[in-house]
């Protein structure tokens, strides 16, 4: 009766997409990630969760490594707020053309 609602209920789940060098380094093209935070989660929060895993996540997403983020196909900055169900893509600077 006095128990706090589980954090997962207040968190949001987003669909992560990994591309190019990041896809190869992580060994997967994406994953579903539930953030243990309330509705004001940002791109920076997502990156922090991934870096906290250590290993290739920490090395590939370390500050100093150029990583771009697109939410629902629009490039955004680290302060961008994410919503439940957003498609959040992480990728290196582009090199086409």
């Amino acid at each position: 009766m006095t128990s706090v609602a589980p954090a997962v209920a207040a968190g949001i789940t987003v669909d992560l997409v990994y591309l190019a060098r990041l896809r190869e380094a992580f060994g997967r093209s994406g994953e579903s990630l539930t953030l243990p935070t309330a509705a004001d989660a940002t791109v920076a929060d997502i990156l922090a969760v991934l870096v906290a895993r250590g290993g290739v996540y920490a090395s590939e997403l370390a500050s100093g490594r150029a990583v771009r983020v697109a939410v629902n196909h629009e490039v955004v900055t680290a302060t961008h707020r994410v919503q439940r169900g957003d498609e959040v893509a992480l990728f290196p600077p582009v090199t086409g053309g």
């Binding site: 591309l19 150029a66 893509a89 290196p92 582009v94 053309g97």
Partner: protein, 150 residues
Amino acid sequence: MAVRVTCDDFDVGAEIAALRAGDARVGAVVTFLGTVRDLSEGRNVSALALEHYPGMTEKALAAIVDEARARFDIYDVLVIHRIGPLQPTDQIVLVAVTSSHRGDAFEACRFVMDYLKTRAPFWKKETTPTGAHWVDARDSDDAAAARWTR
């Protein structure tokens, strides 16, 4: 306006002809064709693979084309970008712009290429004598794109 992302090769002459077909307002067509070089940053390249972000790619290219149409006095723009495995001398990308006059056609074509190089989600992986390597982004491309925001 047309944007295409495809594994298939394209016919530059046919694409230019189709872009300007029947439009007697057109006096200038400027075309950029990008091709695979066998040398990159001093390394021999035997093969190239292009990956992209399905879903975002076409949107990003369309946004670049819309921006070009807002900035320049042009009629039509075509962007074709190939993905998948390519060889040296293969065609990678085509940007063609029609206008009444050459100034706007040149500027718009270059604008689209500069923005494509820094904003369209494509990544190149080169096969060199030391293996397959993802290509690093070039500072000169960022500088070229930054010219347009001055």
